[in-house]
């Protein structure tokens, strides 16, 4: 039922995500609901998340593409802009959303956020504080969490 009247835009985006996945990102729609995507992002190299496989869920609301997709990390991650529920602090997912953006661009932005954590605009106060006071130690914790929770097993 949910898949009837799927806008052409979503169909085209899905086809492209499947046929030409962006490097380090895979996104595939759920069989029961074509608006729900299972996403996997590989931790970018030279980041504390390197070697990790991060699972996310992405949902295209009824208003998409006028409203942004809803994205959440399912894998636990130690990052100042991601909270313990996996919610992501990213401007293009909120007020900077434009209907000209796509699922692909959103996921690439999230991948970029893993490479460049921004403790000045935090979602997890504690992690951001840790990052600002002792970055080396915070990075170690992030690596540890990547080993513990995102090793892909």
């Amino acid at each position: 039922m949910a898949n009837s009247n799927l806008p052409r835009r979503i169909i085209k985006e899905t086809q492209r995500l499947l046929s030409e996945p962006a490097p380090g990102i895979s996104a595939s729609p759920s069989e029961d609901n074509m608006r729900y995507f299972n996403v996997m992002i590989l931790g970018p190299s030279q980041s504390p998340y390197e070697g990790g496989v991060f699972k996310l869920e992405l949902f295209l609301p009824e208003e998409y593409p006028m409203a942004p997709p809803k994205v959440r990390f399912l894998t636990k991650i130690y990052h100042p802009n991601i909270d313990k529920l996996g919610r992501i602090c990213l401007d293009i997912l909120k007020d900077k959303w434009s209907p000209a953006l796509q699922i692909r661009t959103v996921l690439l932005s999230i991948q970029a956020l893993l490479s460049a954590p921004n403790p000045d605009d935090p979602l997890s106060e504690n992690i951001a504080k840790h990052w600002k006071t002792n970055e080396a130690e915070a990075v170690e914790t992030a690596k540890e969490w990547t080993r513990l929770y995102a090793s892909g097993e």
């Binding site: 806008p7 052409r8 006028m66 209907p99």
Partner: protein, 379 residues
């Protein structure tokens, strides 16, 4: 004539480039494929330009116009002549259509939102622009600036209401218009009707009038409110007194209760804040929580308290003065017990709370408190 056709060709080239961009995204994912597609699109274009230009100009070889954002003469480049009939048919079928990046559909040119702005060259279909504006107007009501949805266009190309009026539903136009008007009013002068089901935007012109407006009527819902406190009208109570009330006691019903209490001379227990009515008996009312002397009104004035303590055996009395706030009798007595021991009995110093009688006369409010064993009296 040639200029005109060049302009329409340019729009068409733009369309093809956008469609390539969409399919390949702004990120360099597969350069070879990108280039290949561009070449294909250019070849397709050459057919269009060729077929249309041969009628207007005498160019014998095929040429293609490159997309350019300035009105400079278009650049002509040579490409091989077309030889694929199928491509030609495909092109003729879609030549008057533009690809909308938002809905990912090709739309006839008359369904494309006319972008007359010099700030950007994005073209989206009218339907998508209308939906974009409607969503912005409905969900981000405090932000009346709506930009072109193109990437990197935020605050660069701002969409104008007049240019969009025709493609928008009436309720969206009205709402957008309202929020634009609202944005013109300074925040310091603007406030909302305090009745939540009304919340009309109101203008505080007390500065212009040079007087503070207090009791006002909302011109929309016609209910009374206080423009100074920005709350529903607090009848029977001044703004200062209202400001001192606890947040939980500012509702209309709370204020009505206050008025009844005043009329009926009900008093409130200063500790548990319950209203108490004395129907008969003496003035000494025992609160369910603690003793309450009815006439004890709380003033927080400091004043000289004359305190007299009587020793447990009733023989010795100690009198002293102390600067104390005029507070509830029991607190006053409790306070006395915290003073350094001054009560003497048989040349022995006792704790003050061992006094059999305590008498306090407070200078500033001319009230007396008396405790005898566990009984309190005020007069």
């Amino acid at each position: 004539m040639a200029q005109e056709s060049a302009a329409s060709e340019m729009a068409r080239v733009d369309d093809f480039y956008f469609s390539v961009l969409f399919d390949e995204s702004p990120f360099p994912i597969s350069d070879s494929k990108y280039a290949e597609e561009l070449q294909l699109q250019e070849a397709l274009m050459s057919i269009t330009t060729n077929t249309s230009q041969t009628t207007t100009s005498s160019l014998s070889s095929s040429s293609v116009l490159l997309a350019s954002s300035s009105p400079q003469p278009p650049i002509l480049i040579q490409v091989p002549p077309p030889n694929d009939k199928q491509q030609q048919q495909l092109d003729l079928g879609e030549s008057s259509q533009i690809f909308c990046e938002i809905c990912a559909e090709r739309k006839p040119i008359d369904e494309i939102f006319p972008n007359d702005s010099s700030d950007c060259k994005h073209s989206f279909c009218s339907d998508c622009i209308s939906k974009h504006i409607s969503t912005k107007v409905r969900y981000s009501h405090l932000n009346s600036v709506i930009s072109c949805p193109g990437l990197d266009c935020k605050d660069v190309h701002v969409l104008e209401l007049e240019a969009c009026r025709e493609i928008l539903p009436k309720d969206v136009v009205d709402k957008w218009d309202d929020s634009l008007c609202e944005a013109l009013i300074l925040n310091s002068q603007k406030f909302y009707c305090p009745f939540k089901d009304c919340s009309a935007v109101l203008l505080d012109d007390s500065e212009e009038l040079g007087e503070v407006i207090v009791e006002s009527e909302c011109p929309i819902c016609h209910r009374l409110f206080c423009a100074r406190c920005r709350v529903p009208w607090h009848s029977g109570i001044g703004c200062e007194e209202f400001g001192r009330l606890h947040e939980d006691e500012r509702g209309t019903e709370d204020l009505m209760l206050r008025e009844i209490a005043k009329e009926k001379k009900w008093k409130r227990c200063p500790e548990c804040m319950f209203y108490v009515e004395r129907t008969e008996g003496c003035l000494h009312i025992t609160c369910r929580l603690l003793d309450l002397a009815l006439r004890c009104v709380r003033h927080q004035h400091l004043g000289r308290a004359n305190i007299m303590l009587t020793s447990p055996d009733g023989h010795a009395t100690t009198i002293f003065h102390q600067l104390m706030p005029d507070m509830r009798a029991k607190s006053l007595f409790d306070k006395v017990t915290t003073f350094p021991p001054i009560l003497k009995c048989n040349s022995e110093l006792l704790c003050n709370d061992q006094a059999s009688q305590v008498f306090i006369y407070h200078d500033s409010c001319r009230k007396s408190y008396f405790r005898f064993e566990n009984h309190f009296f005020n007069y």
